[in-house]
Amino acid sequence: MSDVLVLVDHVEGQVRKATFEMLTAAARLGEPVAVWVGAGGDAAAEELGRYGATSLLVADDPGLTDYLVAPLAELLADLVAQRSPAAVLVASTNDGKEIAGRLALKTSSGLITDAVDVQPGDGGVRTTQSVFAGNYTVVSQVATGSPVIAVKPNSIPAQETGGSAPAVERVSVQVSEAAKAARITGRTAKEQSGRPALTEAAIVVSGGRGTGGDFGPVEAFADSLGAAVGASRAAVDAGWYPHSHQIGQTGVQVSPQLYVAAGISGAIQHRAGMQTSKTIVAVNKDAEAPIFELVDYGIVGDLFTVLPQATDAVNQRKG
């Protein structure tokens, strides 16, 4: 069977859920080969094996991570040339999509971003994407080269295969001077909220203009459900919540099992970022708010009374 390369998405050695989802998708297409860039690869072998990685290639030259994505694309292009994989999967994050774009050009391969499903098909890999604010479902096929597919996190359920830790093989790449042209000169880790990351969370609770700047009830309800916290553009523009939490076309696009919109009217830009959520709930004082067109369950009411009551009820259920 052909290799399917999976670029491991990890933050300082901590493997992100998107990686397990990609390994699950890769197993449908061939032999999942995990590619690890940076330190910590050996420690993660067992975890990667459990989700189906049959081998693990580690590139831990510190030089690879001092630059933006160009060296990673060179490494993957080298591996594609050596192994002619059936596909290369990367996480459809900002960086992942850029790696995919450069890799596609380097290897003359078709490119798909934001894939929400990956399946084998006649004539090659078939991918599914959700476009135009989730109003269309598109199935695509790569016609040329080794398909380069950026897989949207939280789209494909990860499955443990019971595999054991794969053998680790060191790989390296001679990074070109051109790829080193954009240097990372500083890195500051963001303060950890203790909440799940937006793109990985099964539940997202978001606040908008209706919070009036007080995200307390939104955060408390999110914490009762173990959810991530999001915000509408209006709330972010007003300076009430950090931009990194903005849900929408110009922010983060999420597709959780449950999305709760509190005090959010549902402008098209916001809808573009959350419309593919499996279950949608909204709380809004305005019964005419467009968000109610999308909901499975909607409460016309004040979030400052509804959310605290709901938080208490959830906490009571947990006993």
Binding site: V69, E98, T144, G186, L294, T305
Partner: protein
Amino acid sequence: MNIVVCVKYVPDAQADRTFKTDHTTDRETVDGLLSELDEYAVEEALKIVQAGEGEITVLTMGPDDAVAAVKKGLQMGADKGVHVNDVAIAGSDAVATSLVLAKAIEKIGVEGGGVDLVLTGLGSTDGAMSVLPAMLAERLGMPQVTWASELAVEGGMARITRHNEAVTETVEANLPAVVSVTDQINDPRYPSFKGIMAAKKKPVEEWSLADLGVDPSEVGLGASWTSVVSAEARPPRQAGELVTDEGDGGAKLVEFLASRRFA
């Protein structure tokens, strides 16, 4: 300082966008406009030039009406425009688009004494792949400096700040470079009446693929390295249940969540 800003003419995201039978975007039934995210790139170019000196060229590719995106950039204050217009480019994917734009940027550089900075938005509001800046950098052999929420251009260098989910990074590169900017970087200006009048006199060159030395077989729907097998409209959502809070809204909400096993 010669700056090229790449812009895209897109169907209005507020309207119902659809596909044609060949699975390309239907641009006829929906009004088009300058992709909102490109306004931030135009604004940033204006700020750089106003703080020093330089010339801004707004570049787009697309059918006849795509020139409207260039004109909006000129109305905001850019100096001149280039519109690559050729029937063969219809249906081009990101790979082909990056080829055409890279060739056009090279030609702008040859004719204008070099390009120092290529600015783009973080993505378009239609395709939204966000791969074009990286592809342009790859093709042009320029450093890629993307997702800038702050940008300083001085001493022949571009320095940016970018925010990822877990980390904030500072990145620097020598010019010329390809820089993409986010919607956090500035507040784009509205064209003034004076700007709108002045734009009418600004030159917009129209180039064909032949002008760029691009073989038509390398672009367009037929040259795409990917193909769309099907495009289906999502079935309309079933109307959800709507209740009015009468003092028990929170409790009812949790009952619903419990029925779906979320609580």
